[in-house]
Amino acid sequence: MPSTARRRLLVVLASLTVALLLADLAGWGIADGVRRAGGLVLGPVQRALSDTQPDELATVERENVRLRTLLADEQQRAADRGRLDGLLGSSTTAGRTVLPARVVATDLSPLGGRTVTLDVGSRDGVGADSTVVSAEGLVGRVVAVAPWTSDVQVLGSADSVVAVRVGPAGTLGTVRAPAAGDSESRPRGSLGLTTMAPGTAVVGDVVRTLGSVAETPYAAGIVVGTVTAVDPDHGQLTRGATVRPAIDPDAIDVVAVIVPRPRSQPRSTTRTTR
């Protein structure tokens, strides 16, 4: 080939290469086509080359990876079962009809508090305002129900108020999220307890739900938390206290929805002996 022709060929090919480079940088499809062609033609050759020594080691490694995956699956399943057993065997669900569920989504409200979504819905028998508990205690109540999922307002949300009994004496009170205008500062994640003046909470008292008509929205006697601090007496009508919730709102996993059982029989009167 004469030298000028060769030079011309070089220029043409180099320009084509530069054009293809620019096309690839610009993200045009033609570069992908070239790429695919390269893989199509030379890929089988490479496969043949790299399979020159079919060794035991590769087979064993593959098997190892498969077994590892299987083991991880089984461990996950066992952990789930353990959590479920703990939930069903705990005092919060004892004697109640419950529907096991697990958290599939969670959302932090800008007003504070948290909403979680459970994988059970109206088709499973969940109704609005059902109580949701975990093995440790009260989680919250169902606020919205879809056919296959339901949304739960977790304890400590801005507009959740729970009527409670405090301590062995059973003093009445309410538990809510610490309000912005609260006179006392409370640690993050804790709840505010308000009791009527004569009865006061003591540090270490267990706070349980008071219960409502037909077990909605809160069933009776479920642990809400423990009193960790009592506000000083300023002579108000009500006394405040800080409650540490029994559950960790950031780590809710397996929970149970309590299926309410409304009374159908009138309660019989009892005559006491003198």
């Binding site: 080939m1 030298s3 060769r6 030079r7 060929l9 070089l10 090919l13 180099a14 290469t17 530069v18 293809l20 480079l21 690839d24 940088l25 570069a31 070239v34 790429r35 062609a37 390269g38 893989g39 033609v41 030379l42 890929g43 050759v45 490479q46 080359l49 790299s50 020159t52």
Partner: protein, 166 residues
């Protein structure tokens, strides 16, 4: 243009070398930073005998073979251009008068340096950082292999040309 034996051999060498560099050598346990650039050795062997234009043309075509062997390079077309420059530089070492055996390795060293700087530049542009030690060891491996391989390739090339097969 009739395909000559030399042209067929050269094409076969480039394809086999590209496949070896990409597939066989890593498979045989050669650490990636010590895999020599076998294709570049072939390009230099042709370029030192025939000059810059021929070297650049061979480098461009061989670079395309390297580029198209999976894993296909990205951005597509950079490697052919860099190899073309390498072939061009190696072609500048053609001297019909001098027959020093050091000429070909020196050409290979320069071509490998061109290819390395092209790689480093693209890596810096794409990732913002580069491991120079890796590149340097690849260059060293290429030149060391070239010291052995280049004389053999040149002898074969000259013999084929003498028998009017190239």
């Amino acid at each position: 243009m009739r395909p000559t034996l030399l042209g067929v051999l050269r094409t076969a060498y480039v394809v086999v070398a590209a496949l070896m560099t990409a597939t066989l050598l890593p498979r045989l346990g050669v650490p990636p930073q010590w895999v020599p650039d076998l294709v570049l050795v072939g390009v230099v062997a042709t370029a030192v005998l025939r000059g810059p234009v021929h070297g650049a043309l061979t480098g461009l075509l061989a670079g395309w073979v390297v580029e198209l062997v999976p894993p296909v390079g990205s951005p597509l077309g950079l490697m052919p251009l860099v190899t073309m420059l390498g072939g061009l530089v190696a072609g500048l070492f053609r001297r019909s008068s001098s027959r020093s055996w050091l000429r070909a390795p020196a050409a290979l060293l320069c071509a490998a340096a061109v290819v390395l700087s092209g790689r480093v530049a693209s890596a810096v542009l794409a990732e913002g950082g580069v491991d120079l030690a890796d590149g340097a060891s690849r260059l060293l491996a290429t030149v060391l292999l070239g010291l052995v391989l280049l004389p053999a390739l040149l002898v074969v090339d000259r013999a084929l040309v003498r028998r009017r097969l190239g």
